[in-house]
């Protein structure tokens, strides 16, 4: 059957089902406001969601099918469903744990916490533990070359795996699990340091520009405009090339340069936000009152303005952290970031990238580069969940 005809038929069926759903709902519930005031679009939305859910369930069943060709086709979808359910369950369990353990304050916090936030916090805690205790947790060293190269993830000997290396090994025989764990230390640690530095620079200068105004504001803002006019990744790449010439064979020094370069480039975005938020705060009467009291610039910025700018800055911190993290991964992927043999998720994705071509017929093999990629994705999502929740709390929005 032609695919277009199939889509049209499906849409027609869903559209009809939506109408029937609303009509039946009205009759059965005796015209309750929920169905009475339901618009047609919303009704179709319900049906569409139901259809998608059924399709997802059916696909999951197929991914467990004994027939390998069918199962392979739905392999990643199956893993995604399993992962989603696992994460939801662990977030739920973590929230229950938080509600019953700890001080009265934290228990109260957990009681009003959405599942997404508890998932985010749990993930961040796990990442932090893994990063701090990488040396103790990882079964092998990050630079250690073991016997077998290209062991398939999954640890099933029948599929080309090895129980000693549950997530397989890379092309030169290093254990992927160990490198993922060390990667948390390198990538997350460096990203965190970079973001903090970017905020120190950007927020301080931004508030200064907002409070003082005049030529300083002009100078800083135009300088930031110039920096922002250059595409950031290209700019970072350019500077990193120069920096690697300076650093020579000193790999630690190169990492330090990278932190500074990314921090400066990202601080321009922070500067803009801090300046905009700061401008709204400096016109408040309490700033005027503090100025008339004779307070100094430091007090104005850190004691009067900063506490009122935390919410937007915090939100930006979460986002900025993710961007910095992705920039580092991208630079490493391009070969100028964190240098081998240090494990880094970006580099790992690059090194194993060609295996993605096996996705159609040998999904286990293709999952090797996706492991590091999903480690990046998971942290990004988790940080944003937590930041969203904090914003929601601090803005005092109801429901």
């Amino acid at each position: 059957m032609n695919i277009f005809i199939a889509i049209v038929l499906w849409l027609a069926a869903i559209a009809a089902a939506g109408w029937v759903f609303r009509f039946v709902g009205q009759k059965v519930t005796g015209n309750k406001p929920l169905f009475r005031d339901m618009s047609y679009g919303v009704a179709v939305g319900y049906i569409l969601a139901a259809v998608l859910l059924v399709w997802l369930g059916w696909s999951y069943v197929l991914s467990r099918s004994p027939d390998q060709t069918i199962a392979n086709k739905y392999f990643f979808l199956g893993k995604a469903v399993e992962g989603f359910l696992l994460f939801a369950a662990s977030a739920w369990a973590f929230r229950i744990f938080g509600r019953n353990v700890g001080s009265a304050g934290t228990r109260k916090l957990f009681r009003s916490m959405p599942l997404t936030a508890s998932f985010g916090i749990l993930t961040i805690i796990i990442y932090a533990i893994v990063a701090i205790f990488a040396g103790a947790i990882a079964p092998y060293g990050q630079e250690e070359i073991l016997g077998a190269a290209n062991v398939v993830p999954g640890g099933n000997p029948a599929m080309g795996g090895n129980p000693d290396y549950p997530l397989g090994t890379d092309q030169i025989g290093r254990d992927i699990l160990s490198r993922l764990i060390y990667g948390a230390q390198n990538t997350v640690g460096i990203a965190f340091a970079t973001t903090v530095l970017a905020f120190l620079i950007g927020a301080t200068l931004g508030f200064l520009a907002a409070t003082l105004g005049g030529w300083l504001d002009q100078l800083l803002s135009r300088a930031v405009d110039v920096l922002m006019a250059i595409p950031s990744l290209i700019f970072a790449l350019l500077l990193m090339t120069i920096a690697s010439a300076w650093a020579g064979s000193e790999k630690g020094l190169l990492t330090f340069y990278m932190v500074v370069i990314i921090a400066v480039i990202d601080s321009t975005r922070v500067f803009r936000l801090a300046r905009a938020v700061g401008l709204n705060i400096v016109v408040m009467d309490y700033i005027e009152a503090a100025k008339l009291r004779g307070e100094g610039m430091g007090y104005l910025i850190f004691r009067e303005i900063l506490p009122n700018a935390t919410a937007p800055l915090l939100a930006e911190f979460g986002l900025r952290f993710c961007f910095v993290f992705l920039t580092i991964a991208s630079l490493s992927f391009l070969g100028v970031g964190i240098q081998p043999p240090l494990a880094d998720w970006g580099t790992m994705v690059r090194d194993l990238a060609q295996f993605i071509n096996f996705a159609a017929f040998a999904p286990q093999v293709a999952s090797a580069p996706l492991l590091a990629a999903s480690a990046i994705a998971l942290l990004t999502v988790a940080v944003n969940f937590v930041v969203d929740w904090m914003l929601h709390k601090s803005s005092g929005l109801k429901e």
């Binding site: 406001p33 309490y286 009122n308």
Partner: protein
């Protein structure tokens, strides 16, 4: 007896906070005939606006009607379907919001917003509605009615915008209009013309109206009957004249009595005494736009000088000149006989300490992230150098001075206080510097009358105890009457008239002072009618100001 247009019976409304539903309106009943106007009055938080909105079958987000009926022309709005409500709202029921400036879409011309409802509801075609809009603008006495509709909202004044909004509500000739504090944000002189035109047009089209306000004198002019609300409870309802002459409940009586607070005039200042603050020949400008022209006045020890005028008259700018935020172009400012540096950055700590300021909006004047203890403690530490226990002791005594219990309020945040309490904290912060002179910039205009009276009494008490001098900026002449010793009247950046209070309230007046005085609404329900007769319909508000 005419058919009832709107019947509200046993109306209860709940609001959601901290995950539970709390009742905020506890059973309100009223009925409204066609062409009748009911006034809803009460303090903020009394549930006036909530009841007003519920009369349209609408509640704000996070609220719900939990019981009772709202019957409009035989249709129960509480459980009417969205479709039925859509037919009624904007066509037979209209709403006029407090802030017209915030309610008009700044991106569209007035007439385009005006024609939206009639066209949408199929009452008139676009061309018909435009012609009708011009007719309404003319009836509401807007200047240049043929063309004013083609302006954008920012191109007309606040009072004109409020009238344009009334015209918009009238565009479908509704049976019921809800006015939610339509004149609260306006100057007295502007308020009159809005009141007059609203009353006229409501009478002409025989429209029923719910008029929500906290100003008794205003409601006395507008309403046929008055309903008093207190914290979601109904206090009493009566015909306007009965209510004014013979209120039954204690609460209503206390509302009526608020305006009676008045301090006696202090003896006139002797010549030759050095004033605490002396403003001489001050001329100031924002960039190139001149705002103050040759302003001079003195403030003596222990006296209150009220600076009166409409918005834009330069009252607050004068305060900014005295504090040094806006250094004047010419003239000088003396404190205790010594010239002050014009820019606040050049003043020393002692000079800054002597003059303190209390702001109109306590919300923006107190840093929302700091506790009361920190807010008041900072000037104590900064100026007096007190820390630790001594600082705490001083803050506690300041809190006692402003009649707030220290142990309860010390650790609270401003958001956990009521408007009046916040304003008291503002006063305590000013007192913490132990100043000689305090500028009060419209400190009571954002407050309910009962609360405002409390603040005025507190300020008067502090003045007697500490010998403070006040510069009291206000546009409310009732406040001036109650607290001032001397009055300075300003208009367009110039001092029009100044002198002791008693003299100022006695004729002969400068014509502008006279206009201001006669524009203050009185509790007499015939006041507006008489005033309009006296001045003539075309000679009120902006028009009268313009003729000076």
């Amino acid at each position: 007896m005419a058919e009832q247009l709107l019947k509200v019976r046993g109306l209860k409304i709940e609001g959601r906070s901290d995950e539970t539903w709390n009742q905020i309106v506890n059973g309100v009943d009223f009925e409204l005939k066609k062409g009748e106007v009911i006034g809803l009055i009460g303090e903020s938080g009394a549930g006036k606006s909530t009841v007003g909105l519920a009369a349209m079958g609408f509640t704000r987000d996070g609220c719900r009607i939990s019981a009772g009926e709202v019957e409009f022309d035989g249709i129960n709005l509480v459980n009417a379907s969205a479709k039925v409500k859509r037919e009624l709202l904007g066509k037979r029921i209209a709403y006029v919001a407090q802030s017209a400036a915030a309610s008009f879409n700044p991106a569209h011309r007035l007439i385009d917003q005006h024609t939206e409802a009639p066209v949408q509801h199929g009452v008139m075609s676009k061309a018909e509605s435009e012609a009708d809009g011009m007719e309404l603008y003319r009836k509401l006495r807007l200047p240049d009615p043929e063309n004013i509709g083609f302006r954008y909202p920012h191109q007309v004044s606040g009072g004109q915008l409020q009238r344009a909004m009334t015209a918009m509500a009238m565009s479908t000739r509704p049976d019921l209009i809800i006015f939610d504090e339509p004149t609260t944000a306006l100057d007295v002189t502007t308020q009159i013309e809005v009141l007059a035109s609203i009353r006229e047009i409501v009478e002409e089209f025989d429209t029923a109206a719910i008029y929500i306000t906290h100003d008794l004198a205003v409601v006395a002019q507008m309403a046929d009957k008055i309903k008093v609300l207190l914290k979601g409870d109904e206090v009493e309802e009566a015909d306007t004249r009965t209510m004014l002459s013979d209120p039954k409940e204690d609460y209503t009586k206390s509302l009526w009595a608020v305006r009676s607070f008045q301090r006696p005039q202090k003896p006139y200042v002797q010549t030759g005494q050095t004033p605490v603050v002396s403003v001489s020949n001050v001329t100031a400008a924002y960039g190139k736009v001149p705002v103050l022209h040759d302003v001079s006045f003195d403030i003596h020890a222990g006296r209150t000088v009220a600076v009166v005028g409409e918005s834009g008259s330069g009252k607050s700018t004068t305060a900014r000149c005295i504090t040094g935020l806006l250094p004047p172009k010419q003239g000088h400012i003396e404190f205790d006989g010594e010239a002050l540096p014009l820019d606040y950055r050049k003043r020393n700590k002692m000079q800054l300490r002597q003059a303190q300021m209390i702001y109109q909006m306590a919300d923006t004047a107190l840093n929302p992230r700091k506790t009361i203890g920190e807010l008041i403690g900072r000037p104590v530490q900064f100026y007096m150098g007190l820390t630790g226990k001594e600082k705490r002791k001083r803050v506690d005594s300041l809190l006692e001075e402003i009649e707030l219990e220290p142990s309860v309020y010390y650790n609270r945040l401003p958001s956990e206080l009521s408007g009046g309490q916040k304003q008291r904290i503002g006063i305590a912060r000013a007192l913490a510097a132990e100043p000689k002179f305090i500028i009060c910039d419209e400190v009571t205009s954002a407050l309910d009358q009962l609360v405002a009276e409390g603040i005025l009494k507190l300020l008067a008490k502090l003045q007697d105890e500490l010998g403070l001098s006040y510069m009291f900026i206000t546009h409310d002449l009732a406040t001036v009457k109650s607290i001032a010793d001397e009055v300075v009247v300003m208009k367009d950046g110039r001092v029009v008239e100044q002198g002791p209070k008693d003299d100022m309230f006695k004729p002969p007046h400068h014509p502008y002072t006279d206009l201001l005085l006669s524009s203050v609404p009185e509790m007499d329900p015939d006041w507006l009618t008489n005033l309009l007769k006296e001045r003539g319909v075309d000679n009120i508000g902006d028009a009268a100001v313009g003729k000076m």
